[in-house]
Each structure stands twice: as C-alpha cells, then as structure tokens.
C-alpha cells in the first residue's frame, strides 16, 4: 500500500455523558458541592410542582383541603418533608457560597465554606426533624 491509498481514521469524538454529572469520581469537595446543588435543585423543582398540586385542593373548598392534609399526615410524608428541608437549606446556603465566590470572595476558602454550608444544613435539618416528629 502506498501513502496515497492510506488514510488514518478520524479520532473518536467524545460522547456527552450525563452520567458524568452524577458519577462519584469527584476530585474535590467543589465537585460534590456542585453535584449536591444540582440534585437539590432538581428535587426542589419537582417539589414545587407537587406543592402546587397539593395547594390546588384549596380551590376545592375546606373539606377537600382537609382531606389532602390528612392524607399527607403520616411518617412517610413527614420524612420526605425533612429531606425537603435539608434540600432547601443546602441549596440556599450553597447558593450564598456561590454568590460570594462570583464576587471573588473566599474562592481560596471555598472548601471550608462548603463544610460550613454542609454542617449548618445538617444542623437545621436535625432541628427541623426533632420539631416535626
């Protein structure tokens, strides 16, 4: 074969893999902070829709609303609400961390800030759980 007849194949293009967002092979806490922020964000969007549908019972009068509330008043839903509070608090506090970083404040301390966010979220969730159960 001569060079005129030979052609090296094109390189294999990288695939866009969404699984990478959620893969546990993170390199630093910043990667985890981002993953948690994204996960809690998605969870909160779904909760928002759920919240809207629960509140729609308000439009059907007091009885319907009361029935809906009673349906939700069991340990499973209370546990889910605790998880929801964890998500909300983390998303909010980490959002503040991201805002500070964008103002070039504490970028070098971003890991420490994550742990502060994490511990505060855990404590708040704990307090809420004790209060709610």
């Amino acid at each position: 074969m001569n060079i005129e007849e030979y052609k090296r194949p094109e390189p294999r293009q990288p695939e866009a893999r969404l699984s990478e967002w959620f893969s546990p092979t993170k390199r630093g806490v910043g990667g985890w902070a981002f993953l948690l922020h994204r996960l809690t964000g998605i969870v909160l969007v779904f909760y928002l829709l759920l919240h809207f549908s629960v509140l729609s019972y308000l439009a059907r009068g007091p009885e319907a609303y009361q029935a809906a509330l009673q349906f939700l008043d069991n340990p499973l839903f209370v546990a889910l609400e605790v998880a929801l509070i964890a998500a909300v608090v983390y998303h909010g506090l980490n959002g503040l961390r991201l805002l500070l970083m964008a103002l070039n404040l504490g970028v070098k301390q971003q890991k420490a800030m994550f742990w502060v966010v994490f511990v505060l979220s855990a404590l708040t969730t704990l307090v809420a759980a004790v209060y709610m159960f």
Binding site: M1, I3, E5, Y6, R8, P9
Partner: protein, 391 residues
C-alpha cells in the same frame, strides 16, 4: 514538473526546522515521527537557549554556532524565549583561575558579555551563593524547547508540509544503492504503507544511528545521556552557570515556576535503554546547591535522563564531556555510496535552525535545485497554529 518530495525522519527540533527550511525552498515535505512530536531527544531538553558561553573555551566551533543561532532565533521566534540572560559565576579560587580563559573565549567567539560585581550579582539574584567572587552576564535565555519546534512545524504545515505522528519507519526502501522512500507503520492502526521520496533525511537525534543502520550505513553517533532534575520554585531569574570547565550539575535554568538543574554525563549504545542513574539526583542537588544554596531543600518535581546526540570519536568516548556539541551533515552518497540519503546529527536545540540550513543546502544541491535559505528572516507562526484544523 512535480516538486521533489523529501521525507524527514524525526519530528524533533531538527526535523521541524528542516521541514520549515525545505518548504520555504519550495519542496514537498513529509515528516514521520514514531511518537508525539518532540518526544525523543528534544523532549528531554534542559530548556536552555545557549549563548555559547558554556563552550567558549573548549568547544569554540559549537560556541560560535550557538551565539549566531541565539541571535537569529530571537528574531524569528519572539515569545518562545525568556530573555533573562545568563550569569556565569565564580565561587572558588579554581573558578577564578578559569576566568581569564573564559573572558578570552567569549571575545574570540564574539559572545557579548558584561562583567558585574559580586554585590550586583547578589542584588539581582538574592538566592545566589554569597561566596560569589566574580560574575559575567551573557545572552543565555530560557527556551520553550517543545513549543519552538511546534512553531517550525506549524509554519512548515502552512507551506504544505505533512506531519505524520505515531508513524514509525520500519524499512528504508532502496532501489539498488539508492534510497527511494520509506516503509512506515502507523501505530494508530498498526497498518504499514510506503512513502515514496526523492530524498530521505535522517533527523533522528539520538536515534539517528539506529535509523542509518536501516539503510545499511554507519553514523558515528554516541548517545550521551545526562540526568536533569527539576525542582519546585523559581530560585533564580537568570540562567545560572558555574564559571569553570563544563562539569556536572553546573547550570540552573529557571523554567516557568520551576528550576531545572543539569546535568551529568555518560555514554550508552541504545537511546531507548537509558537507565536512570538514581544516585545522580542527589548529585544534581549537591552541585546545584553550590550555585544556589537554598535549592538543597527545594522539593523534587521530576528527574529524568536525557540523551544528547553527540558525534562520537572513533576511539570511543568515556563520559561524553570530551565530545564536541557541534553538528555534522552526512551525505551518504559520498560517504557510503548510498544515493538519496542524508543524515543530520549532533548539535543542540539552540542550533536546530542552523543544522537545518546546512542540511537543506545539501538536499537542494543533491536534487539539482538552486534555492537559497530563507529561515533567517521568516518569522514563525505561533505554536498554537500547529493544532489548527487542516482540511
């Protein structure tokens, strides 16, 4: 008539500069390199743009080549060098005894220099050994020895050269006693194919002896490795040299955020089998600390063995220190009766352009062309152009 086609074996500094020179002279050029470009001899560089001062006493031929090329490269490749100058410092009385010969050598070789007081040297390089007795400033510099060849290649590509990486020469194709091309293996697919050529140039650096053997000819090449040690921290801003006869560990080149101490020297037969001499790492630290005492505690980033492609003496070299750093172009037609095959060997990264000029002169003369060298003036494209998409 179709333009003559030259195959250059080796994608290091020499092959890159040669491809650039030949394309400027209107030839078609294909560079074949068995690995990534600049992964062989060039890839183990010290990163020193020589002023020639290091060779000013013992190897004046090489020293003159260095200062001439140094000045040309500054013009054609701005941005590839840190123009920090170099400082030769005398620490001991023995170094001081070398000083007159050193200054005389600089004069003889036409290397511009300026003697500065030890106080001034210390003011400019606070980490320098305070025992400094004399200091001479010369136009050394730090070079990006990977990106400079990329700039040669990018400019050559712009003028039509083809660069084939991961393409290893398996056979040099002959018709009778004439070289007519190469048979290569593409390591991306492991397929082999032939590349026809009007002329083949062997620019294999430390490997050029092995490549010449494929054509049945002998090149007196002596791969001479040395250990280099890169440490974290930029301990000096100028290139620091010991003012004495070239010895071990007497240069510290600041490179980016690192400092590179070099080097030791011995000789081997096969450049693929350089065993790294572990004990030389400590040696480099010890010698480096004579120039910059604080470097003793610098954190090690990397240590590696680099093979200089020196032209051997027929008697066989002991350490490589006694061999000249100059280069030589072998036309195997007059030497070995093999037509269409040229080897360029020896030299240093600093003199790559000059080596290419001499070789290209031989190539065009052999091909019966009249095309002058233009690489002294043409300013090179940036290294990023090497990665530009080409259709």
């Amino acid at each position: 008539m179709k333009k003559p086609h030259v195959v250059v074996i080796g994608g290091g500094a020499t092959g890159a500069a040669l491809a650039h020179d030949l394309t400027l002279r209107g030839l078609r050029v294909t560079v074949v390199e068995r690995g990534e470009v600049t992964s062989g001899t060039t890839g183990r560089h010290h990163g020193l743009l020589h002023s020639g001062a290091r060779y000013a006493v013992k190897d004046q031929e090489s020293a003159k080549e260095c200062i001439e090329e140094n000045m040309i490269l500054r013009k054609i490749a701005p941005g590839s060098f840190e123009l920090n100058n170099g400082l030769f410092v005398a620490i001991t009385d023995e170094d001081m005894a070398y000083r007159p010969a050193f200054l005389e050598g600089l004069e003889t070789c036409g290397i511009p220099y300026k003697e500065i007081t030890p106080q001034e040297a210390l003011a400019r390089e606070p980490n320098l050994n305070p025992a400094v007795k004399a200091a001479v400033e010369v136009p050394d510099g730090t070079m990006d020895a990977m990106r400079l060849p990329l700039r040669f290649l990018a400019t050559a590509q712009q003028h039509g050269a083809v660069v084939l990486t991961y393409t290893e020469v398996e056979e040099i194709l002959m018709q009778g006693k004439a070289v007519v091309g190469v048979r290569v293996r593409d390591h991306v697919t492991e397929k082999t194919y032939n590349i026809g050529a009007d002329l083949v140039v062997n620019a294999g650096g430390a490997w050029s002896g092995k490549i010449a053997a494929l054509a049945g000819v002998h090149v007196p090449l002596q791969p001479s490795p040395g250990v280099l040690v890169a440490v974290y921290g930029r301990w000096n801003n100028m290139v620091l040299n010991r003012m004495h006869r070239s010895g071990d560990g007497d240069i510290i080149v600041p490179q980016r955020t690192l400092s590179v101490i070099g080097t030791s020297s011995w000789v081997v037969e096969d450049p693929d089998k350089l065993e790294m001499k572990k004990e030389h790492i400590q040696l480099m630290y010890d010698y480096g600390a004579q120039l910059v005492p604080a470097i003793r505690n610098a954190k090690l980033r990397a240590a590696w063995a680099a093979a200089r492609p020196l032209i051997g003496s027929e008697g066989g070299a002991q350490t490589g220190r006694e061999l000249s750093r100059t280069f030589k172009c072998f036309d195997h037609a007059e030497r070995d009766g093999v037509e269409g095959f040229v080897t360029i060997a020896g030299g240093k990264a600093t003199t790559a352009r000059g080596m290419a000029e001499v070789t290209a002169n031989v190539v065009v003369q052999k091909l019966g062309l009249d095309a002058p060298c233009r690489t002294r003036e043409v300013v090179l494209l940036p290294h990023t152009a090497y990665y530009r998409r080409r259709m």
